[in-house]
Symmetry: D2
Subunit: 208 residues, 4 copies
């Protein structure tokens, strides 16, 4: 397939990313407009570079006509939360939406990857209305705390630099950093619980 | 209803406008990416100001709890085309979409308004996925040429200034302008046909 | 120069277009926020495609190291006005800005091109702050009414189709269309004057 | 001053935030386009809510006509970096820009606040070109790592909930979290140095 055709191939994926960013950012707007705490802090999205898509296809020997089925992260959305337990809230909101179909979920928070990677992944099917009709594409939504994201962004750039073979000494430093990030999330979660307790106390007092 | 509640009332309408702008602009991107002529030149969108919504409700004696059913232009999208016959193409694209339901259509191009107003209106039902569930809202899509839009924008600002009672002498000037705009569209349409003829000739030649 | 280098060459031009769009759109926001009539209806901007820039360089035999000085429309901004006399207001606003330097102006409204093209052009020098220091780039600002723009967009796409050699019969149709566009602008201008008169009458009455 | 006048007062601040976001995001684009590591991860901006501006004015007894001079954070920009030592790079880039004037700097990274707050602040004067002339406004740029930001966002929302009087037990939890965030930044910085060493080794080898 020529470069021009790959650009055409990408159109519905780019469109899906644009639509999903607008739709999911609206969740945050909705909470904030109602003066409620938003479980979503911010959202980013991107489509895979054509070159790195073809590289991955090559590495895993995926025929080009099966890319749309086999590669689940051509369209990718990332949702950042402030606290670990916001992730579950976001997952439940996404599960209840009627404009996407969840194919399956991967819980790397309960089952942390050996590298230290933590995140919640949802693989969805999303219908894109094109001039020529509806195209159902597959997209990946990653949900994580700011600390998980901080760590993952760094690991990603190191993997990129070292072509997936990070030297052992840096790998162990990364695990140490993952531990700090985890501690940070836990401490924050403790505070969140205390906030809730404090608020409950306040409401009990008010009710008397 | 307090101002705060009206702001909450507007959330799904604002969301619909944002989503529809992103979705319909993608049609233009799709054509252009494929090096095809796009029937859409540009798209704008807006929600009605709360104050002018309440004014309209007052004028037509619409109870506040019936606004969402009675006012069809709380969410408004405007699609501008280069040539008159692009409008039909756009209408057919919208009719075939599966993410909106067309309630009815108003053809002010065949049936020009006495004021000189020309445009094609589609009243649609559009589902907005909120954190709390799906809300079906009503929206108006106006499809017009650049010349129709030019005229309509001016008439709108005059109506605003004169509170719907434009003086007769200005009214007749406006009708004159509507005539010029119509002539402009017709001349352009002539050229478009000639372009098509020229291209057909070219293709016949190439086929020999 | 490799494609990669041309992409680097374009960075300050892309940046200038982004900055100028944000800055000039703010003029409209400022007028509207103060409930005043805005002389600006809308603004678009674009950088020239690398391929069509190199084509133009080739056609006019411009050495590549002189492109930044010789091509004035690598960065292009277009300001659309509702009425012809808004153009002068916009020109004066731009002349008084301290963040750009006007190199020269081309008045194709007084001096209509033989093709029928009407627009006001300002060639400016604009400083872009890059990570590596300030780069002064040249940009072109086109100011026109909606009707002028409508005509110019069509002529541009015909020139593109016919590679600058539009057939005579279409050329004469285009001139006819330019005449309709001009009539439209004139009729609108008449109304604008009447609006002003009507407002003056109103103010005299109020003063008694 | 009426609400309408405060909205007018805010115009140049909103404009400054829009311009600065576009300008500073371009730094990241410039690095990435050249395939270089960008010291900027992402940028956010906001203007202060009118209500919280007036509250602050009231609390510190600032006369309304001195707000523009006394309140330095009416326009606020936040630059997030991946590594602690990226902050210095960003500070130097900002110091060398010719489109803003740095009034003074506050280094809360060397001099951590008792609460645990770490960030680098630059108070700048920035000229906004309005339709009516140039207005010099004061804005605050905060530069921090993702971990510093994570902590600061949480502290801010707690301060908001507890109206600046966070209970002691939560305060000590927050300091614990600040310590985790600091550890995270330090571990990351260690890795960054190792990356640099690894790259230097690589270059030496290549040179042989």
């Amino acid at each position: 397939m020529a470069n021009k055709d790959w650009k055409t191939f990408m159109i519905p994926y780019e469109q899906a990313v644009e639509e999903l960013k607008v739709k999911l950012r609206a969740i945050r707007t909705e909470y904030r407009r109602k003066n409620d705490y938003s479980p979503i802090e911010f959202i980013t999205g991107r489509v895979k570079e054509i070159s790195s898509m073809l590289e991955k296809a090559n590495k895993f020997e995926i025929p080009h006509d099966r890319l749309a089925m086999e590669l689940e992260d051509i369209a990718g959305i990332r949702i950042m939360c402030q606290f670990v337990d916001d992730i579950e809230t976001v997952v439940n909101i996404l599960r209840s939406r009627q404009d996407m179909k969840i194919l399956y979920e991967k819980d790397y928070i309960t089952n942390v990857k050996p590298s230290g990677y933590r995140s919640y992944h949802m693989i969805i099917q999303y219908p894109v209305n094109m001039a020529s009709g509806v195209v159902n594409i597959i997209a990946e939504i990653q949900i994580r705390t700011l600390a998980m994201n901080f760590w993952a962004v760094t690991e990603h750039s190191l993997n990129y630099k070292y072509k997936q073979s990070i030297p052992e000494n840096i790998k162990s430093k990364l695990k140490e950093a993952a531990e700090s990030a985890y501690q940070l999330d836990q401490t924050m979660l403790d505070i969140k619980d205390e906030i809730k307790d404090a608020q409950k106390l306040f409401e009990v007092k008010s009710a008397i």
